[in-house]
Symmetry: C2
DNA sequence: GACAATTGCGCAAACGTTTGCACAATTGTT
DNA sequence: AACAATTGTGCAAACGTTTGCGCAATTGTC
C-alpha cells in the first residue's frame, strides 16, 4: 500500500524528517504532472516553463520554479531521454584502468563531460577484442549519445565500429586508433616521442640501442618504433634486427626480452622501451647482471607511469599528456553530438609528447 | 527526410553494406511494433514472446525470435526502464581511480555487474566531499538502481546518504564507510592488517616503530592505527606520541612526516605506514639519511600497490583483496535490488587482509 | 455433454517527458 | 475599426516498452 501525498506550497517542509519512517512512507518523486495539478496548469506549460521557454509568461515561470524547488522536483531523465531520443550519457571503452595513463585520461573525460551535463559510462575491454565488441554493444543498447574508444591489444577487425557508424552515433578514438580512416581521433605524436627519446640516448653517447617493441598493428607501437628507427638512421647508426624484441610489453615480457637481447647482443648500451612496464622488467635484468644504469646501459621508456620516479634509478620516459588527451577527445565528441553526426568533418588531433629526462639515461652528467 | 524501410524475412540482409551510404539511409532501429506489424501480431504478444512468457505458444515465440534476429532487434532499454521503473544501471562513487586499489575494485564490480546484465556508471569524487555529493545527485537523477560508495577523505557529514535512503535506492558502502550505522558495507579488517604488520615488525626485532597515520575520522585509518597500537601493547612496547605522525598520506606527506619523526626520535627502527604512497616518501628520506633498509629501519605499508615490487628494496605491505571487495559489494547490492530495498537486513562483510612480506622488513634473514 | 481449467492472444493504459499545432487574448499597425 | 502579429496557454500524440485484464478457443474432467 503506497501513499502519494500532495504537499501544498506554504506547508512546512518536513521532507528531511521522513527518513525516520522509511517503512511507512515512500516519497513519490514529484513529476511534471504533480506540479501542473497543484498549479492548475497543463503539463505542457509546466514543461516549457521549466525549460525557460520564451512563450511562457514570467509570472508563470516563477510560480513553477518556486513549486519545483519546494517539492524538490527532479526531472525524470529516462522519460526525457526516451522522448528526445538522447540519453545525455557518453560511453567510454578503455583497455583497462589500472595504470596511470587511462586512469588520467578518464579523469579528463569525466571532468569535461560532467561540466557539459553528461553522464559517463566506463567499460574495460581487458585488452580483449571480444570483450571490446561486447562493451560497444552494451553502450549502444544503453543508448549513449556518443562513444570514446581506445582499442584493445587484440583488436584486429573493426566491424563493431561500422555498427556504431551505421547507427550514426558519434565516435571519437583516442590513443590507440585505426589509422587511415575517416573516424575522428586524438592521438599523441608517438613517432616524435620515440624519436626524441632515442635522439636523447644517442646524445648521451649510446651507440647500440635496443628496442622493446609492442604489437605492430597498434598505431602507437608502430609509430614509436618508427621514431626509434628514424632517430638511428638520422644519426648514421645501423638498424640491427638483433637489437629488436617485440612482445605484449608486460613486466614479464620485459624481463624475457631483455634476457634474449643480452644473449644476442651482450654489448648493447641502451634500451628504448615502448612502455614503462616492460622497461622495469628490463631494468631488473640489467641490475641482476651486475651492470650499472645508466653508465653501462641507459634506459628510456614511454608513458611516464607513477612508479617511474620511485624506482632506482628513476626512469626517463615520454609523457603522454593524458588528461589533455581525455579533454580534447570528449570536446570533439560533444561537438559532434551538438552539430549532428554527419555535419562535423572527421579530424585527427595530434598532441605533442614531452620527454622527461631522469637518472636512468643521464650518462653525461656522471662522466 | 527519413525513410523507414521494412525488410521482409527472406530478403537478403544487406544491412552491413548500408554504411556505404551514410548520408542517404538511416537505419531505423527495429522496435517491437515493427516486429508485430510484420508478423501480424500485437505488440503485447511480441513483448511477451521476447521475454519467453509461458502463455505464448512455442510456434509464435519461434517466429518472433527469428524475425528479431533477422532485423537485429535490440530492445530500447530506456523505454523499458521508464516503464519498469528500473534502469538496469548501477552507480559507483570512488575517491579516485588512479592507484591500484580502486582500479581493481572497480574491475571486480564491473565484471559481476555486467554478468548480471547491469550497466555501471563510475564517478570520481577526487577526495572532495562536495563533489561526492554532486556525484550522488547525478546518479540519483540518472535513476540508477543501486549505488556503491567509498567515502572521500573530506566527507564529514552524511546528508547525501539520507537522500539515497529516502528514495529507497539500495546502497552499499565499501572500504571507507560510515561506522555504527545500519547501511550495508564491505570492508577489510584493517585492524587485523595493522596488527599483523606491526607484529611482524616486532618479530623481526624492531622495538621503536613509528606510524604514519591518516585522517582519523576515516574508519580505515583509525583501525589501522588501532591495530598498530594494540600490537605494541600486546608485546609490552610503549605507545610513544613522538613516534606518531598524521597526515593525508600523499608521497610528499610521507617525506615530511619522516623528516619530522627522525628529528623527534632519531633512533626509531621501523615505520608502519597507513598507505604505500606515504611509505615510499618515507623510504626516500631514510635512504637520503644514509640508513640501511631494513637493517637500520624496517618498513611496512598498506595497499600492496603495483610499485611495491618495483622499489628497492621491495616494500612489505598488506594486501586489501581489492577485486574480492568489489565483487562482494556488488553482489550484496544486486541482492538488495532483487529482494526489494527494505527486505534485506543491512549487514557488514569483513574481508581478511593478507600480509605480503618483502625485503623492506625482512631483517632476520640478513643477520 | 456440461462445465471448469488452461492456453494463446489482443486491448489499452501506464511510465514522464517533449513538442507541433491550435486557439484565445492581448498588443501593435494602418 | 479592421486586421496582423504577438503572447500565453492547452490538447494530444509520440517515444518504446510492460502488464492487468478480458475474451475466445482449446483441452481436460466427471
Amino acid at each position: 500500500m503506497w501513499m502519494r501525498i500532495f504537499w501544498p506550497i506554504g506547508w512546512p517542509n518536513y521532507a528531511n524528517l521522513l527518513f525516520l519512517f522509511p517503512a511507512f512512507v515512500s516519497i513519490h518523486r514529484a513529476s511534471i504532472s504533480d506540479l501542473a495539478a497543484q498549479l492548475n496548469l497543463s503539463v505542457s506549460t509546466v514543461s516549457r516553463a521549466l525549460s525557460d521557454h520564451s512563450r511562457i509568461s514570467d509570472a508563470t515561470k516563477k510560480r513553477v520554479w518556486e513549486l519545483a524547488r519546494h517539492l524538490n522536483y527532479q526531472p525524470n531523465q529516462l522519460a526525457a531521454a526516451l522522448r528526445k531520443g538522447r540519453s545525455n550519457t557518453l560511453g567510454v571503452v578503455v583497455p583497462h584502468i589500472d595504470g596511470q595513463f587511462f586512469a588520467l585520461v578518464v579523469k579528463g573525460i569525466e571532468t569535461i563531460a560532467n561540466q557539459a551535463g553528461f553522464n559517463v559510462m566506463i567499460c574495460q575491454s581487458n585488452e580483449d577484442a571480444a570483450q571490446e565488441q561486447k562493451n560497444i554493444e552494451t553502450l549502444l543498447n544503453a543508448q549513449v549519445d556518443g562513444i570514446l574508444l581506445s582499442l584493445s591489444l587484440s583488436t584486429h577487425d573493426f566491424r563493431h565500429l561500422e555498427e556504431v557508424r551505421r547507427r550514426e552515433i558519434p565516435l571519437v578514438l583516442f590513443d590507440r586508433v585505426v589509422e587511415n580512416t575517416d573516424v575522428s581521433a586524438v592521438v599523441l605524436n608517438d613517432y616524435q616521442g620515440g624519436y626524441e627519446a632515442v635522439s636523447h640516448l644517442i646524445a648521451e653517447g649510446c651507440r647500440r640501442i635496443a628496442h622493446l617493441g609492442g604489437p605492430q598493428h597498434l598505431n602507437i607501437c608502430k609509430n614509436r618504433y618508427q621514431g626509434y628507427a628514424d632517430a638511428l638512421q638520422r644519426h648514421d647508426l645501423p638498424l640491427d634486427p638483433l637489437l629488436l624484441h617485440f612482445s605484449d610489453l608486460s613486466i614479464q615480457d620485459g624481463r624475457q626480452g631483455m634476457e634474449l637481447l643480452f644473449d644476442q647482443t651482450p654489448h648493447l648500451d641502451a634500451v628504448f622501451s615502448c612502455n614503462d612496464l616492460a622497461l622495469v622488467g628490463a631494468m631488473q635484468v640489467v641490475k641482476r647482471r651486475g651492470l650499472r644504469i645508466p653508465q653501462d646501459v641507459a634506459l628510456a621508456g614511454f608513458s611516464n607511469e607513477l612508479f617511474d620516479s620511485l624506482t632506482e634509478p628513476m626512469l626517463t620516459s615520454v609523457d603522454q599528456r593524458c588528461e589533455e588527451m581525455g579533454r580534447t577527445a570528449v570536446q570533439m565528441l560533444l561537438e559532434m553530438i551538438q552539430e549532428g553526426p554527419t555535419k562535423v568533418a572527421p579530424r585527427q588531433v595530434v598532441l605533442q609528447p614531452k620527454l622527461l629526462i631522469r637518472e636512468s639515461s643521464q650518462r653525461s652528467m656522471l662522466q
